[in-house]
Amino acid sequence: MPKLNLSQITAITLLFTMAVLVIIVPLLPGYDPYKQNLAGALVPIGGTSITGEFYLLGTDTLGRNMLHRLALAGQVSALIGLGAVAVSLTMGVFLGLIAGYFRGPLESVIMGLADLQLSIPRVLLLIAVTAIVGPSVINLALILGLTSWVAYGRVARGMVLSLREREFILSAKTQGATAAWNIRKHLLPNVLPQMTIVGSYEFGMIIVMEASLSYLGLGVQPPLPSWGMMVSEGQNYLALAPHLAILPSVALFILVAGFQFLSQAFTRENDLELIR
């Protein structure tokens, strides 16, 4: 068992809390994020409704169990995040690899596209696109994925630029390996570990983006809950029932901070490997 440093311990603690919320809570008996209980609306954290039911994290305006809502919203966010990361990772790695391997005009076009996309603020791009294609869970994962390939593309291309000059590629070429073979069998395995680090950082970013869109009313649509939407609903009850806005914010914080520390922990370990 290696000794863990502070940021690794923090990452593990935060992500474990999140895993309990998203995976364990839905398995509990009586789990129902949609069940309304108007007699027990706006119960505070750890409060009891008039009918005598105990709510660990209170209830929302319709008397729905906040703990269960948070868990379902977490599942929705995680699903969108994973989908988006899968889309952007595939697209970014593919474009980065061919840009770095073939160079020339193809590289200029791909990197030009990357620069163009970076010159439109991401939130605005997402708003404009969702306004037009309409929000749904699948659309959101696709849009978020298609607009965040640049980070992977740039890192992958940068790595390939140096890898392609190495002897093992030259050796493969002299033995008659095709470009497709070289990219798939020699470059991809070398690039993928770095991509998981970028991915763990981007996952947090995508969750925030999704939450921001949902907060603006352009993301996940009711009846499905989303942390961002829950915050936006809670804003109207800020004075009366602050837990409505605070709890989903805390959930977002735990998830985002968890992935932030995770990518930090990863980076350090990899740096050590490079030094050895």
Partner: protein, 305 residues
């Protein structure tokens, strides 16, 4: 320098051109705008007449060039909800958004500057760690959550500051704190890294050797060199701040472009959405251009790359 300038300006023009092209295809993806303008029971003749009036019956390439010529002149058509030019509506909101972005920028860089110097000067390790952890923690809180926390504390519990609207300086405090501190961790890390890099150089040792005080060396000798990277990144982020204004303006009901865009989305007012997105993108490109040129003037090494 002239070549560097020309190349950067050419790149910027190309980017704006790309944004307009992307906007055109987005509009086409949205489908036929005539159906949005007419009631459901409109006859086929009416639809054809409107299509003709809007030029939608012409070949795509003709439509594209028409859109291009109009967009370059800032003409994105008439708002579908309010009978005014879409660009006019957006331009009215520019001062509010710029005010928020610029003040937030100074709040963010100012805080980074003060905290960075403090972290260099203090011998207390716990204080340095504390500042780093707070900045990192802040980064993990989305803009809207942080904004609501500030409203909860300063507007609802303490009743010190207003929670929405624009007017007095009090209205500006919470939005600027929300938006300005978002990138604090990044600024701090950069500032510290560049200060640490300068610390190792010979001129710093010389300054200490001739008996200069710690604060003097820091402020007079190291700072001018260490500030350069901070200025660049903060400059680029002034553009990113423009994106962040969208959420911040919604939280605090700040009457800027971002809020207008969000409202237009729920009203499906496409000309306004496009005009707003276009204008912010152009502002973004122009700011980046200015920062690059400034950086080229400040640091001659940049021009070579």
């Amino acid at each position: 320098m002239a070549r560097f300038l020309l190349r950067r300006i050419f790149q910027s023009v190309l980017t704006v051109f790309g944004v307009i092209t992307a906007a055109f295809f987005l509009v086409r993806l949205a489908g036929d705008p005539t159906l949005l303008l007419l009631p459901v029971e409109a006859s086929a003749e009416d639809i054809a007449r409107i299509r003709n009036a809007l030029g939608l019956d012409q070949p795509l390439i003709v439509q594209y060039f028409k859109f291009l010529t109009n967009a370059v002149q800032g003409d994105f058509g008439v708002s579908l909800r309010q009978n005014t030019s879409a660009m006019q509506l957006v331009l009215e909101r520019v001062p509010a958004t710029l005010e928020l972005a610029v003040i937030s920028f100074f709040v963010g860089t100012g805080l980074a500057f003060v905290l960075g110097i403090l972290m260099r000067m203090t011998r207390a390790r716990w204080l340095r760690e504390l500042i780093t952890w707070i900045a990192l923690g802040r980064q993990a809180i989305p803009l809207f959550s942080f904004g609501l926390f500030l409203i909860l504390i300063f507007a609802i519990w303490l009743r010190w500051l207003p929670s929405f609207g624009r007017g007095t300086w009090q209205h500006l405090v919470l939005p600027a704190l929300t938006l300005g501190t978002y990138e604090l961790a990044l600024y701090l890390r950069l500032f510290n890294a560049s200060l640490a890099a300068e610390q190792r150089l010979d001129y710093v040792r010389t300054a200490y050797a001739k008996g200069q005080g710690h604060l003097n060396v820091l402020l007079k000798h190291m700072l001018p060199n260490a500030l350069l990277p901070l200025v660049t990144v903060a400059g680029i982020n002034l553009g990113l701040l423009l994106g962040g204004t969208v959420v911040t303006e919604t939280v605090f009901s700040w009457p800027g472009i971002g809020r207008l865009i969000v409202q237009s989305v729920s009203q499906r007012d496409f000309p306004v959405i496009l005009a707003g997105t276009f204008l912010i993108s152009v502002m973004f490109v122009v700011i980046n251009l200015i920062v690059d040129i400034l950086y080229g003037i400040l640091d001659p090494r940049v021009r070579l790359t």
